[in-house]
């Protein structure tokens, strides 16, 4: 588990940094990124360097663009402008270094697959396009399932798992990717206490390996306890840095305060104008 020669080498072969203010070896460098849905801007001018080996929380109100930030970094949604580097290179060259835990609600849990099937999907990036899934990959998947305390549920169809167990299956799938940088979308939302403990233990062991986790997190109470870095997000980055410096009352008020930010109003006006062709007077 500790030697990942290909990934360590790939990391050293970084290209030139995005700009003088960016570190060439940061796990994630985002430069001047803007993302819009239907011309309505969701993220505005994001500039960020993730520190290596950190547990990083992305925190912000609903609709702040937390999931969108992750998805734009993973090329899952198009960027209107700006660039993203993973260990100094574009994402498409670094896929083997990245693991992803989508939000649990995004999939249909009545799907006819077992827990082990789902975890094995984490290995798909390493299996040749037309090669069958080898026994070695299944064994590896079983090991990762055991790491999240779900070894005995390998053959269980996923709808027969509790919400917390489903979340742990998703985490095991990401572990099976054996990545250097993880993106996790609300892995602690609506889980039981056992699952929360398990997930936090695993995040810490990932950090102990010198790997990096970027986690969308909804619970302000536990940010200090679980994370060492935080990104406060509301359409733009309000503040980012070590929790001890950045996670202050004042910054939180700036992140969550006010009903509509000017940006949101502008965005709504744009979206409204697109549909009706008229300026929005009632806003």
């Amino acid at each position: 588990m500790n030697d990942r020669p290909d990934s360590r080498d790939a990391r050293k072969a970084a290209e030139a940094p995005l700009g003088p203010e960016h570190s060439p070896l940061s796990p994630l460098s985002v430069h001047n990124m803007t993302v819009a849905y239907h011309r309505r801007p969701v993220l505005w001018d994001i500039d960020y360097d993730a520190p290596e080996g950190g547990l990083i929380a992305i925190v912000g109100p609903n609709g702040a663009g937390k999931s969108t930030l992750i998805k734009a970094a993973l090329d899952l949604v198009p960027r209107a402008s700006g660039e993203v580097r993973i260990f100094g290179r574009p994402y498409r060259q670094q896929r083997r270094l990245v693991g992803y835990v989508p939000q649990r609600e995004t999939v249909d849990w009545d799907f006819p697959v077992t827990a082990l099937d789902v975890v094995t999907m984490g290995r798909y990036g390493r299996i040749g396009w037309l090669r069958p899934i080898s026994r070695a990959h299944r064994r590896a998947a079983q090991v990762f399932l055991e790491q999240v305390g779900m070894g005995e549920f390998a053959d269980r169809q996923i709808s027969r798992l509790s919400g917390g167990q489903q979340q742990r299956v998703f985490l095991a799938r990401a572990l099976a990717q054996e990545a250097e940088l993880y993106f996790m979308d609300e892995p602690l939302a609506g889980v039981d206490a056992t699952t929360e403990r398990t997930i936090i233990d695993i995040l810490r062991s990932i950090r102990a390996d010198g790997r990096t986790c970027i986690v969308v997190h909804h619970d302000l109470q536990t940010v200090r306890q679980y994370f060492d870095h935080v990104v406060l997000l509301n359409g733009r980055i309000v503040a980012a840095g070590p929790v001890s410096e950045v996670f202050t009352e004042e910054n939180l008020a700036r992140t969550y305060g006010g009903k509509l930010t000017l940006l949101e109003e502008a965005g709504q006006a744009l979206a409204h104008g697109r549909v009706t062709g008229e300026p929005n007077d009632d806003a």
């Binding site: 896929r95 992803y100 989508p102 995004t106 249909d108 006819p112 077992t114 099937d117 396009w129 549909v275």
Partner: protein
């Protein structure tokens, strides 16, 4: 391969040919009919298998209805192909123009759905409805035009509405067999890719897979099946062959691999029996015959499949209800004895029933179940718990109280309401949870020793029929 199927069928047919008892339907079914029927049956069976496999992925990708639009859009495509053939070569009946016409229009229909969906205020169901009906209507109009043309009436294009397998030419059957084999092969080779595409497309994209390309492959498969299926099943009902077999298969299994096999089986079976049926029945188009057989398979699956079928679910519910009724009666009897301070006194169940607010049916059901399990016995004075019944009643009361205490202390539910919450959950508490609850209560001093029955958190005397005034703590009740 379909030739092989047809020829093995022919051998089997030769053996069966002499047996007159088969009748025409049986001969068609067992490949003993005329050569043409034999190879048509083989061809439609392959089509049924392929659409069962592909339909499974379409269903799981929630694209089944899109294939309905495809089927309806293919009809004007065939007509357009015919007209182009007449215009270019003087004859439009060649498959070389008809099949590409159907495929191109099928894709056009799918593209039209995509474009309409991107418009504001047009949802996918509306878009599919618009495309399906407009393309189909255009097809019917074009058919009308073709019928009036010289030689147009002999083209037999009207059979593409409902499908008429018996009149298929060898070339049509061959095209159907090839498309079916290719599609089935695609589903087997691309099993892993299709599974991830259907389950979690965002994760697939994060691995660098192009879900657009994979969806394109799925769509191409659907177009292929629909195009060749027009001759056998017809434009209106081809979608049924893609939806019904996988929907029926889902009742039987929780495994994708098994679901594919069962869906292919149902599709192949429906096509086999349906084609044979329409081959011998006068004026029965093949499409409806196949769909009716598949529909029967669906009904059987829905009712009888053990894991997810309706009957199995009803049986499980009934078993659970009987178990709960028994456990409620046992606990009520235990608590009655507890309040009275004596376990051996006979209990008047009618009084108990009224106090607990049960209906006569509730009590009768509970009593039937407890008698069956040997928990209670009757004598002249009333009902008593047997030794085994007492042990079961005590265990049940313990689970109920453990959960009540937990609710009262952790879920901040008032003690007067915990009884209701505990009523539902006490029947499903597992060993591990009971242990955890016990440890919790013991650490808080509510429970003296593991295995004890904790005191009830609420008063029982208005609940049971005893005369206890509440002076004696119920937990001190001797065995």
């Amino acid at each position: 391969m379909w030739m092989m199927l047809a020829s093995t069928g022919a051998t089997a047919g030769a053996m069966l040919d002499t047996s007159e008892w088969l009748g025409p339907f049986g001969r068609a079914l067992f490949f003993a009919g005329p050569y043409n029927t034999r190879i048509v049956v083989a061809g439609t069976v392959l089509l049924g298998i392929a659409s069962g496999l592909l339909g499974t992925f379409l269903l799981l990708r929630k694209r089944s209805l899109l294939s309905d639009a495809l089927g309806h859009a293919a009809l004007p495509g065939v007509c357009a192909g015919f007209l182009i053939g007449v215009w270019l070569f003087g004859d439009g009946r060649s498959l070389a123009v008809l099949l590409p016409g159907a495929a191109v229009f099928g894709l056009l229909g799918a593209a039209a759905v995509q474009v309409l969906t991107t418009l504001p205020r047009v949802r996918e169901d509306a878009a599919i409805g618009v495309v399906l009906s407009v393309f189909f209507a255009a097809g019917i109009v074009m058919l009308g035009v073709i019928q009036t043309m010289d030689g147009g009436g002999q083209a037999g294009l009207d059979r593409l509405i409902f499908g008429q397998a018996a009149t298929m030419s060898a070339g049509e059957v061959r095209a159907m067999g090839i498309a079916a084999i290719l599609t089935a092969g695609l589903c087997v080779i691309g099993f892993r890719q299709m599974r991830l595409l259907c389950f979690d497309p965002a994760f697939a994209r994060s691995l660098g897979w192009s879900t657009t390309a994979l969806d394109g492959v799925l769509l191409a498969g659907a177009v292929a099946v629909v195009t060749v299926g027009l001759y056998a099943v017809g434009a209106i009902l081809i979608v049924a062959l893609l939806i019904i077999p996988p929907a029926a298969a889902r009742f039987w299994t929780d495994r994708l691999g098994t679901m594919l096999v069962i869906a292919a089986g149902i599709g192949g079976f429906g096509a086999w029996v349906g084609t044979a049926w329409s081959a011998v029945a006068v004026d029965l188009p093949t499409g409806p015959a196949i769909v009716v057989v598949c529909g029967g398979a669906f009904a059987v699956s829905m009712l009888a499949a053990p894991p997810r079928g309706v009957l199995a679910a009803a049986w499980r519910r009934r078993t659970m209800q009987r178990r709960m009724a028994r456990q409620h009666l046992l606990r009520a009897m235990y608590e009655t004895g507890e309040v009275r301070g004596a376990a051996d006194e006979p209990i008047d169940l009618e009084t108990l029933r009224i106090r607990r607010g049960w209906s006569k049916r509730d009590l009768a059901r509970a009593l039937r179940e407890t008698k069956r399990q040997g928990d209670v016995q009757a004598d002249a004075e009333g009902w008593r718990l047997t030794d085994a019944g007492f042990a079961a009643a005590r265990a049940q009361t313990r689970r109920h109280r453990l959960w009540e205490h937990f609710l009262a202390s952790h879920a901040e539910i008032d003690t007067s309401h915990v009884d209701r919450g505990a009523d539902d959950i006490e029947h499903v508490l597992g060993r591990a949870m009971v242990d955890e609850l016990e440890a919790d209560l013991k650490s808080r001093g509510v429970l003296a020793q593991r295995g004890d029955v904790p005191d009830s958190p609420h008063r029982l005397d208005d609940n049971g029929p005893g005369t206890n005034s509440g002076d004696d703590p119920p937990g001190s009740w001797p065995r």
